[in-house]
Amino acid sequence: MSSLKPEDVAKPAPAETAPDDWSPEIAELRRRQTAALEMGGADKVAIQRDKGKGTVRERIAGLLDDGSFHEIGSIAGSAQYGSNGELTDFTPANCVIGRGRIDGRTVVVAGDDFTVRGGAADAAIPEKQVQAELMANELRLPLIRLIDGTGGGGSVKTLDAPGGFTYVPANPAWNWVTANMTTVPVVCLGLGPVAGLGAARLVSGHYTLLLRDQGFMFAAGPAIVSALGRPVTKEELGGAMVHARSGAVDDVAEDEADALGKARRFLSYLPSSVDGLPPRAEPTDPADRTDPWLDGAVPRNRRKVYDMRRIVRSLMDEGSFFEIGKYWGRASITGLARLDGWPVAVIASDPMVYGGGWTADTADKLNRFIELAETFHLPVVHLVDIPGALIGIEAEKAGTIRHAARALASVYQATVPWCSIVVRKAFGVAGAAMSNHTRFRYRYAWPSGDWGSLPIEGGIEAAYKSQLEASDDPVALRAEIEGRLNAVRSPFRTAERFGVEEIIAPSETRPILCEFANLAAPLRKPGRVGFGFRP
């Protein structure tokens, strides 16, 4: 809240002394704009800073290229007037919106101001948020939501106002929030406690994160949940790691600068809207670079795991891999990267987590990520080591097969160029989901490739059940059968039948992927895609 000093108060000028131009009104505009910059007032701003948080205006300045912010609705807020109609007090609305640039490209930003009534509904002008969503949609510009507070959600305080009434709830701007997910990149940063509608706004984006120790998200906060029974803290109910692991958000930021930097970096891989194509960066890493380390990256012992993230970093342009969703759906690693400068979407199995087998949440993450790639025309590189979908009682209770089938549907519906590298295993339905086999199979296998309907290790018991039961020495018989089957397990036997198109030395993979990215580039088609992104 800004208290205006008496000498600042503009008095309506008598008609006979009015100047010929509009300078009094322009001065009044500047005075109101300056008052709005004080946000919730010095005391509220001090509280925000004491918590280690930046103000909405500092955050916007940190996000955008220097001096590029062009605010819309700069003097929207609640005003109080004296008996002569003079403005005596002004509090800005708790949402700051406008346009600015990131790396020279125009974006729309909408930031909640927690210093004005904690971002609550009764201090909001909901139409500002609606217009921010519309601006991004009509101008085909990426949208960044800086979320800190409920930002337009409900408060029972609204019932307590003169002429109070209740209402059937509606989600403001939601048709545009939904439409934007199939139209423009949407980045949502959870920089404070977020509940209800704010939480729904936070997760309705293509890249979302919570700030460690500052960002919290809940359908309803600890006060409401604790009232139902067991007391909970905000950390255990909706801390950043809770939701990075649940998959409600994609990432965790260490501090505000990290959060803003991640938003800028994510957008660097994407077009400004579905009507554009992902921009190529100046190639800085030779496309023909080979890495001898790769030839020994996968252990010969099939029971031993290895570091897939290191393989990804070796194959992609140096320093270009930007992981998304590290803490959930961990059996697959997903992220954006560049090959010879071209942005690509990378999927890579992680053998350290369930051997790379698809859990229900891994399948959900893949579905979300493939939708992102399809929506923004990113070619996909899939590094495959999938022993199947996860098996067992817990996996069945989690409905893993339906989640896997949904990811499978995304793989088969995707039209973006797609290249698979079989690094090791490909078994069962999930292994077969490495790509849509009815398309041209842009596919290579490493000599460590190992595939089939069922892995030999587990398949013998099922396939030779009656023989093993009838045998006097089932252990010896099992060993004999396993030896016989292993003898024909070589990937060269598959390649003889053209069952796998080409086997390559792992060290030669990067040049092949760079060729893929260059061949894929002219095939990318701008426009809205057949299946739309949903949260």
């Binding site: 031993k304 795991v305 053998p351 350290m352 369930y354 051997g355 996860l390 067992g392 892995p455 290790e457």
Partner: protein, 73 residues
């Protein structure tokens, strides 16, 4: 001195204990090897420190998130 808890990142069976109580470990040293999806998956130490307690035995079933080892760091 802080006691820190290392929990299982995956469900499975304890294949092997890679450390004993009292051992000094460095970051990324394997503490427990979990057999899961026919693979040997190491539960690596997130911290350097001394093994204060081991809460699982070889051959035992473990669930995701279960306490494996306590470290003094």
């Amino acid at each position: 001195m802080t006691t820190r808890r290392v929990t299982a990142e995956v469900a499975g069976t304890v294949w092997k204990l890679a450390v004993a109580v009292g051992d000094q470990v460095a970051v990324d040293d394997p503490l427990i090897v979990i057999e899961c999806m026919k693979m040997e998956i190491p539960a690596a130490s997130p911290w350097a420190g001394k093994v204060a307690a081991i809460h699982v035995a070889e051959g035992g079933l473990i669930e995701e998130g279960q306490l494996l080892v306590e470290l003094e760091t």
